[in-house]
């Protein structure tokens, strides 16, 4: 199918308006069904037994007493999930993470599971399972895990990416490097050099809805799975592979999703629920507790980062270098690699080098968290950039403008940029009233920039036109924050009809072709591209049908504002035919009218943001309040501006939580100390000010409407913006995230004592 994805610069009728979302009423009346809101007749309650040890060999599991308990219908261990991964190392890691095979690798690692007639029986059954552990030394800190004496988490891992294969196994799974030019020479040309080390602690996406699913495996080998996920097609692939099923035999329906932010991109409980259902011969509902979500889903990496940047007196950066160490949990990942790619992506640099190290630790398997890996790298780099500006004696915004990447710049991770928004966001910040507002005592202002790639990927959309002329749009990217509204706007725009004439749904895996998951800010970007393509395919059919109704050549029929119009003098007496009129006749003109689209959405435009933040620090307690916050970000084109603002505000709020209070706290015993909302401390309503937003629209040349992803970039600058603000308010450079009150107070005291 010939689809031209290039930006066309058209005028919009629907896109850019702010209608109420199609799924809204269900969500304000309590009718919307999320993961845990679905039940099946005869369903059992599933519960998972988890390791209390950070690192231990599982010598033996005795499930006989649990199996003997009345009301228990199935008990499973790793033996019930045999290894069918056929040498696929990444899938094997997922399998091992779902159910520990020989070793428990973190506090909370699943070791067995039960299905019983009710929750009470299931809980009792877990207590009756006897696990014989041989406890091993553990390591949870990223720097300690890299030390030579560190306990080895996996003795088959030899660091990849070194010139020679190392002789010894290591917790470092991979070294990766990016950059160009000669940093040594660049630093030689610098008048000022700033060199600093930073740490960030591990955080969790903190979605309010715990993971939940209902699995029903039939004796004929088919199965249904209802689940809250960011990607039901991916879940289907993974579950089918792990259970030895054909993908088409497993129908996965994505429920409404109560937040994901990257955390619902991996299977944890779903293969377990399916295995329990298979063994019990009944549907099984498995819902994680909040404690399990923190201990056993996928938080982001903890990091340790060294940054060195040099510049001339005139404010030109001559060289930039960073070493980034990211924890991956007990399985290999690509988190440091992504961090190393993003670290200096905002800048135009002749000499740049970044090196990333993936580090295994006895913590849960790291998962994506909104622009994964970028916020920590940005924190380190943007803190150093601020300090360097200070040393040179140049305004931090001006300094960044002078070194900002632009169209044609070779990025620090390789590709050459097209039209990009870093310069415009900086100019907007420079001219923003926020930058000129006065500050009071103990207050400080900070700003910082951030970058995210944005993804595209495999996408499939069905657009069906009913005989009454109403349109149903079936998409395969899960709606995490209003994409059904934005995709309806796009379809309405393309067809030239009213938004209310459409209804968008997220189709299940048996009703639509494969879609990659909603991650990488790809939902609206890629599904809008497929929606445009599907609508254009439908329009082609609509034109054909109109031509048939008029008995003229289709070449003489064009589509204008929701109508077929006959062009040419000889058709002067023909009126327009509306979509409704053509649809009404579809039964006699060739049957149902539909447009389909299957494509790989290439060319997701990179995204940049610049944030401004004012804080007030209590110098006697280290308490910090964010008193004003502004987000400026390039959206390419804001399809539904209210939901774009929502993405900006939400990312900023998560960044504020990360910057100030959120962290995984492990005890010396390797157990997570704060596995609950009370002590994990995500921001509450009274912690935050209004979050101002400014949407810039620098069209993405690779999308018909110029759309770029908008979901993730907003979490990249906050750590650094707040760190710069706190450092300015407290008079001391903060290098450890979160900047919790004890850390700030200790830094102030240390500074006072010199």
């Amino acid at each position: 199918m010939n689809f031209d994805p290039r930006f066309s610069g058209r005028k919009f009728a629907s896109v850019g308006t702010r209608p109420i979302r199609p799924d809204g009423v269900d969500k304000v009346t309590g009718r919307a069904r999320y993961g845990a809101d679905f039940n099946m007749a005869g369903q059992l309650v599933g519960r998972v037994l988890r390791s209390p040890h950070a690192h231990a060999i599982i010598r033996k599991i005795d499930t006989s007493k649990a199996e003997a308990l009345s009301g228990v219908k199935a008990v499973i261990t790793a033996a019930d999930l045999p290894d069918l991964t056929d040498g696929d190392a990444a899938m094997y890691d997922i399998l091992d993470n779902c159910m520990a095979r020989t070793k428990a690798l973190y506090d909370g690692h699943a070791v067995a599971a039960v299905a019983a007639i009710d929750a009470r029986t299931a809980r009792q059954a877990l207590k009756l399972i006897e696990v014989d552990y041989e406890v091993l030394p553990h390591v949870t800190d990223v720097d300690e895990a890299m030390a030579h004496h560190a306990p080895l988490i996996n003795d088959t891992i030899f660091t990849e990416g070194l010139e020679q294969k190392p002789a010894k196994a290591s917790n470092v799974t991979k070294r990766s490097q990016f950059g160009h030019g000669d940093v040594h020479q660049g630093f030689g040309a610098a008048d000022f050099i700033v060199e600093r080390s930073f740490k960030t602690e591990q955080t969790h996406q903190g979605y309010i809805e715990p993971h939940a699913c209902v699995a029903n495996v039939s004796t004929d080998g088919t199965a249904d799975l209802w689940v809250c996920t960011q990607g039901h097609f991916v879940y289907r692939q993974h579950c089918a592979q792990l259970l030895g099923m054909e993908a088409s035999k497993l129908r996965v329906t994505s429920s409404e999703i109560g937040g994901g932010f990257g955390g619902k991109t991996h299977v944890w409980a779903e293969p377990v629920a399916l295995a329990l259902s298979r063994k019990a011969g009944r549907p099984v509902k498995l819902v994680m507790t909040r404690d399990e979500v923190f201990r056993a889903s996928g938080p982001t990496s903890a990091t340790s980062i060294d940054v060195k940047i040099g510049a001339r007196k005139d404010g030109t950066i001559t060289a930039a270098e960073a070493t980034l160490r990211y924890s991956a949990g007990p399985y290999a990942g690509s988190w440091a690699e992504i961090g190393a790619m993003t670290a200096f992506a905002c800048y135009k640099l002749d000499n740049v080098k970044t090196v990333g190290y993936e580090v295994l630790v006895n913590r849960p398997k790291t998962a994506a968290y909104r622009a994964p890996s970028a916020p920590m790298a940005a924190f380190a780099v943007e803190s150093a950039v601020d300090e360097l500006a200070k040393e040179i004696g140049i305004d931090p915004v001006e300094f960044r403008i002078r070194n900002a990447a632009q169209e044609g710049t070779r990025s620090s991770y390789g590709p050459v940029y097209g039209p990009i928004g870093i310069g415009p966001t900086l100019e907007a910040v420079k001219n923003h009233a926020h930058m000129k507002a006065p500050l009071k005592a103990n207050q400080g202002r900070g700003m910082a920039c951030g970058f995210w790639f944005n993804f595209g990927g495999q996408t499939c959309v069905d657009l069906n036109i009913g005989m009454d002329g109403s349109v149903s749009l079936a998409v395969g990217t899960v709606d995490v924050g209003g994409s059904r509204a934005s995709l309806s706007l796009v379809a309405a725009e393309e067809l030239g009809i009213d938004y209310t004439q459409l209804k968008a749904v997220v189709a299940d895996t048996s009703s639509l072709g494969y879609n990659d998951m909603t991650d990488g800010s790809r939902g609206t970007f890629s599904s809008s591209m497929a929606t445009i393509s599907a609508a254009r395919n439908a329009i082609k059919i609509l034109r054909e049908r109109a031509a048939q109704m008029w008995d003229i050549s289709v070449d003489d029929v064009v589509w204008e504002q929701g109508h077929a119009v006959a062009k040419g003098e000889k058709h002067g007496n023909l009126g327009k035919l509306s979509l409704k009129e053509i649809a009404a006749k579809s039964g006699t003109t060739g049957g149902p009218i539909a447009g389909h689209s299957e494509l790989v959405a290439d060319g997701a435009g990179v995204s940049f943001a610049t944030h401004i933040c004012d804080v007030e620090v209590d110098p006697e307690t280290g308490s910090t309040r964010v008193i004003r916050y502004t987000v400026v970000q390039d959206a390419g084109k804001a399809v539904h501006p209210t939901y774009v603002e929502g993405q900006y505000q939400g990312g900023a709020a998560q960044g504020i939580g990360w910057a100030l209070n959120e962290e995984y706290i492990y005890g010396k015993d390797g157990r997570l100390q704060n596995a609950g909302f009370l002590d994990y401390r995500i921001p509450v309503c009274s912690d935050l000010p209004m979050i101002d937003t400014q949407i810039l629209e620098i069209p993405n040349p690779n999308h018909p409407y110029g759309v770029r992803g908008v979901g993730e970039t907003s979490i990249v600058p906050p750590l650094a913006a707040i760190a710069n603000a706190v450092s300015n308010a407290a008079g001391v450079r903060m290098t450890h995230i979160p900047m919790s009150p004890p850390r700030i107070l200790a830094a102030i005291e240390a500074e006072r004592e010199g």
Binding site: Q205, Q654, F677, C685, S686
Partner: protein, 158 residues
Amino acid sequence: MAGVAVSTTINGDAVEYLCQPDEPLLDVLRDRLGLTGAKEGCGTGDCGACSIILDDRLVCSCLVLGAEAEGRRIETVEGMAHGDRLHPLQQKFLEHAALQCGICTPGFLIAAKDLLAKNPDPTEEEIRFGLAGNLCRCTGYDKIVRAVQDAAIVMKGA
């Protein structure tokens, strides 16, 4: 374990159920009565997603036993709209896009309803502190606060 027989009033309707002595009211609402508007985000009173109004008092239904509801009056999100007419808070949440994923929305609506019943003209700070028991991870609260402010204006005029 002996079940406890309970007669109570939910959204104006007389309701009877049998529950276990240690069963949270949230589980009774969701699993026994099919009222899944109240959500379990934590089960420990830290997120507010299960907020209900119990005899004019805002509470987390995860911190109330089903057995305690005997003779009481319960309001849940399912009772907020009158027929097909949405409550002004529901309408304003839609108009302001005060929800993204929507899992926290029922709890916020109930908490905001209680807030405005006790303080019809709250300041931004009073709204923020009044809703501090409800966690939202998507919106940064900005649009929620604005929706409540707007609903307060509408409700005062009504």
